[in-house]
Symmetry: C2
Subunit: 409 residues, 2 copies
């Protein structure tokens, strides 16, 4: 009945209010990037994915514990992987997290989704950095909420603007549901919050009686400088949920992340998480892999990504026309470039693709209609030798856009 | 700050209406069943979990496609596993499902969760068999909806009662959001819907303009008789969502299920499914394993589970006191036993556990307060040689309960 398949609106009357808010998604296939010099996605480097050590860990798991690794597991996560993550958090993050305060999630994405379900009603306001992680927007839209954006400075979220926004949101209604922040090598800007910024965020959350969702997906990938305390560690008042992931270190394909927070909240989240437990087989493999391989593998990754950041910064310096600025991240995957006002980076993407290069238009990283002259450049996925040529192509395109735009005005 | 950790209510004021409806979950660990003769869970047999062939498939995947199996993937599922499931559905279920009508989910559990989000608002009514799959209740409660229960007959859902319930729900408001049905070897009763029942469900859904969610988790595990057409196949009007899973055939630990439905609905579901794609690494392994191993492995499983059903039926026949009745399923994992009214199977569980046996009290399978004298007996997980002794222990306990209860009255 092909006419029915075409009839999208026929199904609208069956939708819940949440279902109506959900976008009619365009299904994208990440493999479509294969033909480009791709600076678009926050994808790990393909060549360094640890296939060999994953196979070793799989062999051990299927030999030693075939039964429970292939069986059902708890909705909050299997004990072996919770304990492996707790050990990692104690060693690297300096965070002591009791088992009842931790749950596994399908990447940190599912952690965000569950927290929005737990905390946010239609009409509510969430405070977030602007720009921020684009994966957050669907959850906010599905919940019928909005984001009050706070700009970033070189020191992380602008704490003066944050205070004003908290006050404004409180004056306008019941207050912000939570502050969503990415303190390390922020996605998309690459900016890192100073310790003073982190402390101030904690104070402000307490003062305005709201919660904090700290998304620390890139924590392990610091190339320069010293690790800073997590907001979770600085918060003596249990207002912070801490999200992490193995997607950038072990492998995104495992879909393993975690969420730490107050235990009464973890138990509620467990009731919302009706998925029969998170990738149990993968959890056993990760629990085997983490103590053996994590530290040496991540130190290799820091070398690779640090080198690529340097290659990209050097190429930007060499090729970009005057008037273009960019950030200099201490870690993570992203550089954020700002072109002169008037350039439309969304429209420019089609031309860039024709020239074989992909980047992320800035607008995609804003909840509101901003960022038209900005781009996110991921240095994680393109190979070393692609970076300089890719940036050169992009810089030439930008220069030509600038000539056209400013000649015309 | 241990006093805060104890203070559950402190956090209540931050919860959304959905968060408040979510239960303060008791976290259960399936491994706690290890010490019992366990008839409690719908767990696959541990000894037949295909560790060796999974390792073979993993080796192939990590050798042939380490890059994309460990990378990010589409939210609706990676193409290789979608195509492997489509091939399986065409061969076994006789269902031709175009790629755009299919998505992968974390078990069929996540499929149910997403459909409730897509279709159900607070105050809405869903129609379901009563008793039904217990994993459905958290989703209904989180959504703030209720279930109008329809009893089962030997031919599946009672279609006369279904019609009355559809009419009642329509008269009371906007009508039922959908009919949730498990036509094959229903969980928990083991009952299978006849083809006439299936056809009538389709007619009634059309007549009352509602949708159908067909949960077919046990389709592949038929021991007797011929396969019947799925409701999805009988429905020419695209009102049916079809849920399946690899949890009972490949391994529950993969958390791989699927959902087929109208493509406009699949695209909305993709926006609700903000988890970065379902177990991508596991999907590649499953796509390698399915064409090679599925048919021979499932034929072994049918032999094992069919034998265990026979052992349990024979043991029930031999040991249960008069006044106890039970179902005789043609497949699946469950027998449903009804004890004389007045026996409280919830209270009896503690004594059964003291005697080393576990079963599922009937009340857990009802949305309303029913099923006090009923139990679900899973024959899938206990080993062959445990079944007869386990049933004998249970039968003696039941007999002793009956003596006490009816001597006292």
């Amino acid at each position: 009945m092909p006419q029915l398949l075409q009839d999208v609106t026929r199904f609208d009357r069956y939708l819940s209010s949440r279902g109506r808010r959900a976008a009619d998604a365009t299904i994208t296939d990440p493999q479509a990037s294969a033909g480009y010099i791709s600076f678009i996605y926050g994808f790990p480097d393909s060549a360094s994915l640890p296939a060999e050590s994953v196979l070793d860990a799989t062999r051990t798991v299927l030999t030693d514990d075939p039964e429970w690794s292939l069986q059902y597991g708890s909705s909050v996560g299997v004990t072996v992987v919770l304990d492996a993550i707790r050990e990692k958090l104690a060693r690297d993050q300096g965070m002591t997290v009791p088992r009842e305060r931790l749950m596994m999630t399908a990447g940190s994405s599912q952690g965000i989704q569950l927290l929005v379900q737990l905390l946010v009603d239609p009409g509510d306001v969430i405070i977030a950095e602007s720009p921020t992680f684009l994966g957050f927007f669907d959850d906010v839209q599905n919940a019928g909420a909005t984001i009050a954006g706070v700009p970033l400075t070189e020191d992380g979220i602008d704490v003066a603007a944050l205070e004003r926004t908290l006050a404004d949101v409180q004056a306008a209604g019941t207050g912000a549901r939570f502050i969503y922040t990415l303190p390390n090598f922020q996605n998309p800007t690459g900016v890192t919050a100073t310790e003073a910024t982190r402390r101030r965020v904690v104070e402000l959350a307490r003062e305005y009686d709201t919660l904090i969702v700290e998304d620390d997906a890139y924590f392990d990938l610091r190339f320069d400088g010293e690790r800073l305390p997590t907001i979770y560690s600085l918060d003596q008042d249990e207002r912070t949920f801490y999200l992490g992931t193995l997607s950038k270190t072990l492998a995104a394909g495992f879909r393993l992340g975690w969420l730490a927070g107050p235990s009464p909240m973890i138990r509620r989240l467990a009731s919302l998480k009706t998925d029969g437990g998170t990738n149990i087989f993968g959890s056993y493999i990760a629990a085997e892999w983490l103590p053996r391989e994590f530290e040496s593998h991540v130190s290799q990754l820091r070398e690779i990504y640090g080198r690529r950041r340097d290659l990209m910064l050097a190429a930007l310096e060499q090729h970009m026309p005057e008037g273009v600025t960019w950030t200099r991240p201490d870690g993570g995957f992203f550089i954020w470039a700002t072109l002169p006002d008037g350039i439309d980076t969304g429209a420019m993407l089609a031309q860039a693709r024709e020239l074989g290069v992909e980047y992320l238009p800035g607008t995609i990283c804003y909840f509101d209609d901003e960022g038209h002259a900005q781009i996110r450049l991921s240095f994680s996925y393109a190979r070393d030798e692609q970076i300089e040529p890719g940036i050169e192509i992009l810089a030439n395109l930008v220069a030509s856009e600038m000539r056209e735009t400013f000649a015309a005005t």
